[in-house]
């Protein structure tokens, strides 16, 4: 009897304890905001998809090399988006507006860079006009110029530098002509002005280069490399994208964390009014913001073309929403968030191919963006300031 009684008590205590804990958990859950629920749901979804991915791998539904390819392409796309997203995030955090002309700065970098690459690669092959206007009469093809990383490495790297420099110059000119005059006008007028700038840039490019889509590079040479990547082979051009992308992101990190101007940029992003009364020369910081942001954006545009081989006046415009998605995902105005967001978007549009047809991958990416805007407007990191 006594023992029964004890058992009864201990079991009752443990039941009580468990019930207590469940209550506590339920209480805490009841205080969760919609954003937190959404975060949990998102994590759950990712976990379930990851389990399913492993299952498919084990069952042999998909091969490891397919997954390897998706991961690789995800990093390539992610880094390309990151280069442009960083610029957008910087203008947002320091100049306080959503720059809709970011996509056309990407296009600017692509055209100016490839024009330079053609000018260099085509010396002695074609006349200057043909080279500068990227082969308007289709007389000199990428094949003729041997336009790939091993065929014309010097031209391709010259193009990369020119893409950065020209995009910086264009961005600075636009800032001087437009944005500087309305520095304190507020986010909406600046945003609308930037839409105008976007269209103007686009059609200036159309005026010079026309609307046709042109192939500007040869298809990438392939590097056999079973060991490093699971894929059987890697496009050399993708490797160039990844190497330069990682290098740029890392350099940016160094600049932001360890240089005086980088710190001033973070200070201004943090608290513009205080930056002003601390003696930080805000206009100079704005200048540096454009130089870094536009430089990376221009390189991004140039490298996108290296990867996809073709170029037209809409190249950057079509990318703009993906750039925005990345920036929103990482928390608007956070530079590191933009980089992580871009990598996630890049991965998502590739790995989602396991479950959904390729036509729908961007739909998935944008649905994710909209859901985040609704439920976690400060980004997946929940507004944890990262710079």
């Amino acid at each position: 009897m006594v023992r029964d009684g004890l058992n009864d008590i201990t079991s009752r205590i443990s039941v009580e304890a468990i019930r207590h804990q469940v209550e506590a958990l339920r209480y805490r859950a009841s205080r969760w905001s919609l954003g937190e629920w959404f975060g949990v749901a998102l994590v759950l979804l990712v976990v379930i998809l990851a389990i399913d991915l492993v299952r498919r791998l084990v069952v042999g539904d998909i091969g490891p090399s397919t997954v390897g390819t998706f991961l690789w392409r995800g990093s390539v796309d992610g880094l390309l988006i990151a280069l442009a997203a960083v610029g957008l995030s910087m203008t947002y955090s320091i100049l306080r507006f959503a720059n809709f002309s970011q996509g056309d700065l990407v296009t600017t970098g692509a055209f100016t860079g490839w024009a330079a690459a053609y000018v260099v690669a085509g010396i002695g092959v074609a006349d200057f006009g043909t080279r500068f206007f990227l082969n308007p009469d289709r007389g000199t093809s990428a094949r003729e110029l041997d336009m790939h990383i091993f065929g014309a490495p010097l031209a391709i790297f010259t193009g990369l530098i020119v893409a950065a420099v020209m995009t910086i110059l264009v961005a600075l000119a636009i800032d001087k002509l437009v944005y500087k005059r309305m520095r304190n006008a507020g986010g909406i007028p600046l945003l609308i002005a930037s839409v105008g700038v976007a269209l103007a840039l686009r059609y200036i490019i159309v005026f010079f280069y026309g609307e046709r889509t042109r192939g500007v590079t040869r298809s990438s040479p392939v590097i056999e490399h079973e060991l490093l990547f699971w894929t059987d082979a890697v496009d050399a051009h993708q490797l160039v994208v990844v190497v330069i992308g990682v290098l740029m992101v890392f350099s940016l990190h160094i600049v932001l964390q360890y240089t005086k101007l980088g710190k001033a940029m973070r200070a201004m992003a943090d608290n513009k009014d205080l930056a002003l009364v601390t003696g930080i020369p805000t206009e100079r910081v704005v200048l540096v913001t454009w130089v870094l942001g536009a430089g990376l954006t221009g390189m991004g545009g140039y490298l996108i073309v290296l990867e996809q081989e073709t170029l037209n006046f809409n190249t950057g415009w079509f990318l703009l929403l993906l750039i925005f998605a990345a920036v929103i995902l990482g928390g608007i105005g956070s530079i590191y968030g933009a980089i992580v967001g871009a990598l996630i978007i890049g991965m998502a549009i590739n790995i989602s191919l396991v479950w959904i047809p390729s036509d729908l991958t961007e739909v998935a990416a944008f649905m994710l963006m909209i859901l985040i805007l609704i439920f976690r407007p400060s980004g997946i990191f929940g507004g944890v300031e990262t710079a």
């Binding site: 710190k263 200070a267 608290n271 205080l274 009364v277 003696g279």
Partner: protein, 232 residues
């Protein structure tokens, strides 16, 4: 040292200050009190070139400074701690202090050591992000930042705002200490009694105009000031 004479200033077309006179001499401790909307903060912002200058003069150590940009005012030797949002929250303590010395080519080690001596906790936590610190500690970061250039005049806009009551005294002690080390202090305070008790001189501002000016003691003893502005 600081002479504000007949100052008219405001924001855009809106005039807030109407012929304000304020003076701070070397190593003096001066308080500006007054009801909400009296223009106390506007006086400081005007000295720092953050308002629209509409008339009158502001001079510091004999040089006209009205119309100068903030970074030029800092170079003249004035430090300023705004009322709210006076730190860079996502940056570390050390980075906040470095920003305080931005106009110099290098971080002045002696000033840095002096700040750490005054606020030892800042040295302990120099790698911590300021946004994760308590209100009192953030206030120390803000003051430390303004002291990095070893200013001749330190302007504090409501330093006790948002501090827990037991921290307010500590804050005032710190201001006393800064003042005793030879830095003149101009302070705007809502905690009027305590500020007047500690200062050398005080101004009472009402609706953008000078109302009273006297030593802190005399203002505290002034029947009318007590009744109208200090809550009896």
């Amino acid at each position: 040292m600081l002479i504000v004479e007949d100052l008219d200033a405001g924001y855009g077309d809106l005039q807030v200050l109407d012929s304000i006179d304020i003076e701070v001499t070397e190593e003096e401790y001066v308080v500006i009190v007054g009801p909400n909307g009296a223009g106390k903060s506007t006086v400081m912002k005007s000295i720092f070139g953050l308002t629209t200058h509409m008339g009158g003069d502001i001079s510091f150590q004999g040089r006209e400074i009205s119309g100068l940009r903030p970074e030029a005012v800092i170079k003249e030797g004035i430090g300023y701690v705004p009322q709210r949002n006076n730190v860079f929250p996502s940056m570390t303590v050390m980075e906040n202090l470095e920003m305080g010395a931005y106009i110099l080519d290098e971080v002045p080690q002696d000033a840095l050591e002096a700040v750490f001596e005054r606020f030892p906790i800042l040295e302990e936590r120099k790698s911590q992000k300021v946004g994760t610190m308590s209100g009192g500690q953030q206030q120390m970061v803000a003051m430390g930042r303004a002291l990095m250039l070893d200013p001749d005049l330190l302007m504090l806009d409501e330093p006790s705002a948002g501090l827990a009551p037991d921290l307010v005294d500590e804050m005032f002690d710190r201001v006393d200490l800064i003042n005793e080390m030879g830095t003149a202090v101009l302070i705007v305070e809502q905690n009027a009694k305590e500020a007047l008790r500690r200062c050398d001189r005080g101004y009472v501002l009402v609706q953008g105009e000078n109302r009273y000016e006297d030593t802190g003691e005399a203002l505290l003893g002034n029947e009318q000031v007590r009744r109208d502005f200090l809550g009896g």
